[in-house]
């Protein structure tokens, strides 16, 4: 066990995923409270073709270019969702399902095209972006994750009070002189940014869980906005550490699933034990006279 904990790869990878999950948990809590968690899911899946296309364009798996491709496709996916909901009778969940499956399908199609094609070399690592394989993370991946997370947290801190008012009461925030469009844009951009840099560690399919699960945990434990964010960030970071450890120590466990499983475990635990969880609620109800 100590061998794993002190190995250089593990330290690099664990640091990267923990920073990512901390920022992801905080930003995700905001999306969830805004009722936008599924947009993260659609965007997460939709970044995958961006990765493959970026690879096809430059022919190597270069961290920054691939991330840029992911960001671009995240934005395109979001704009598509907006266009569909604004200009047709399709509802938001319909548009999300549509964009999620068609973008991800495009990514899969492009991937099988490249993999069977002798013009492209080094295609095997593309799979990592679907489920995540933190063990193959490069130092440049960790730098990118750190930079993106720090920037995201910084933006979050700068607009914290405005974002809080905007999420609670958009009508009031508008009349109070807060630029709602800007707030929405900020939340969206940092969400897409974190998703894009985290793909290699967690994968396109599961990355949304890094945004949603910590938020659920935070909301179960606290009813203060700031505390919910902190708990979300911390539980994300804890799960990232544990998941990365499991994945590095065990042979064939991808990092993404390992982190997500840890998060699910924490979530189940919270669901039962937290102040707003099932058990305490029932005790409270019984004390109040058994009326439910």
């Amino acid at each position: 066990m100590m061998e794993v904990l002190t190995s250089f790869t593990f330290i690099v990878v664990a640091a990267g995923t923990m920073i990512l999950a901390f920022a992801g948990g905080m930003v995700g809590a905001i999306s969830v409270m805004k009722g936008q968690s599924l947009i993260g899911d659609a965007v997460g899946h939709a970044t995958f073709p961006g990765i493959v296309l970026a690879f096809m364009l430059i022919g190597v798996k270069e961290t920054y270019t691939l991330a840029l491709g992911a960001v671009l496709f995240g934005i395109i996916a979001f704009l598509t969702i907006q266009m569909i909901t604004n200009h047709s009778k399709v509802t938001l969940d319909g548009a999300l399902a549509l964009v999620l499956s068609s973008f991800f399908g495009l990514g899969m199609a492009l991937m099988s095209f490249v993999q069977g094609n002798p013009d492209f070399e080094g295609t095997q690592g593309l799979n990592d972006y679907i489920f995540g394989q933190a063990a193959y993370m490069l130092r440049s991946d960790v730098y990118l994750i750190t930079a993106a997370s720090v920037i995201s947290l910084f933006i979050l801190a700068a607009f914290y009070i405005q974002i809080r008012i905007y999420i609670f009461d958009p009508v009031f925030s508008r009349t109070a002189g807060i630029n709602n469009t800007l707030m929405n844009f900020i939340i969206l951009i940092i969400t897409i940014l974190l998703i894009s840099v985290g793909l290699k560690a967690v994968g396109a399919i599961l990355i949304v869980n890094l945004l949603i699960a910590p938020a659920v945990i935070g909301q179960l434990w606290s009813s203060r906005f700031s505390t919910v964010l902190l708990i979300a960030g911390s539980s994300g970071a804890f799960a990232a550490f544990t998941g990365t450890y499991i994945s590095t120590a065990g042979e064939n466990i991808a990092t993404g699933p390992a982190i997500i499983l840890t998060l699910s475990f924490l979530m189940a635990l919270s669901l039962f034990c937290a102040p707003k969880g099932i058990i305490r609620r029932n005790i409270y109800k019984r004390r109040m006279g058994g009326v439910s």
Partner: protein, 241 residues
């Protein structure tokens, strides 16, 4: 002191192609308690939302305190008909009332002791101080309304725009709210209140706007709130349609 604080000129508002307000011309007196009355669908909420720049009019202008820019909205505390807020949001009653102080902050937005004191005082005014640490999601409808009125008080605006603040509220709270309104009026504030109970208009408001898609009558309650005008507004589907 008794000038005009809001001037609406030839305002037209439509939802998609359906007109909601027609040729509204209206002056609202500074320091008045003005009621806005009219049947359901008369466009009362629409008019207020347009004043708050939440709806863009087809044509016409609204001048508030001589200004038409967005910044003037900070001087207005708006209490919507049904608070369309995120009820699951983790915030206490005090948190919500403190949000009213936001408009008074400079670049550094931290809450100071002064803001806290003002917020607590506003809660006291609305007899909500006992609920100060309660989650906003755990309040009754009337308590929610009081919490939002407390936020409006904490905002310390010059103009208060309220969309049916007395709806679904018991008589004790109704009297409380009217007392607060009268007290703040004495401090120089202006009130524009959408009101549904015709029997209390004379008692509660010194000015009244009677409307149904267009203005039927407006002015001092004693002069304008006549059976004739009311009948005109409430008769069938509205005027000019």
């Amino acid at each position: 002191m008794d000038g005009t604080i809001i001037t609406i000129k030839d305002l037209n508002v439509a939802y998609q192609d359906k007109p909601a307000l027609w040729h509204i011309n209206l002056d609202i007196r500074k320091n008045s308690r003005t009621a806005i009355v009219g049947p359901n669908g008369a466009g009362k909420s629409t008019m207020i939302k347009t004043m708050m720049k939440l709806i863009r009019p087809v044509s016409g202008s609204i001048e508030i305190d001589g200004r038409t820019d967005k910044g003037v909205l900070k001087n207005i505390a708006y209490v919507p008909q049904k608070g369309e807020v995120n009820w699951d949001f983790p915030a206490t009653v005090l948190d919500v009332v403190l949000m009213g102080r936001y408009v008074h902050k400079g670049w550094v937005k931290r809450t100071q002791k002064k803001d806290r004191d003002i917020a607590l005082e506003a809660l006291k005014t609305m007899k909500m101080e006992a609920f100060c640490d309660r989650q906003i999601s755990e309040l009754s409808g009337g308590q929610r309304q009081r919490a939002f009125l407390a936020r409006a008080i904490a905002q310390d605006a010059d103009i208060y725009v309220m969309d049916e603040p007395l709806q679904g509220i018991d008589i004790t709270t109704e009297n409380l709210i009217m007392d607060v309104i009268r007290k703040l009026q004495a401090e120089g504030k202006t009130f524009i209140v959408v009101h549904h109970q015709l029997n209390t208009v004379k008692e509660y408001f010194d000015h009244v706007v009677i409307m149904n898609k267009t203005i039927i009558a407006d002015g001092p309650t004693d002069a304008v709130f006549t059976g004739d005008n009311i009948e005109k507004a409430y008769r069938e589907k509205g005027v000019g349609v």
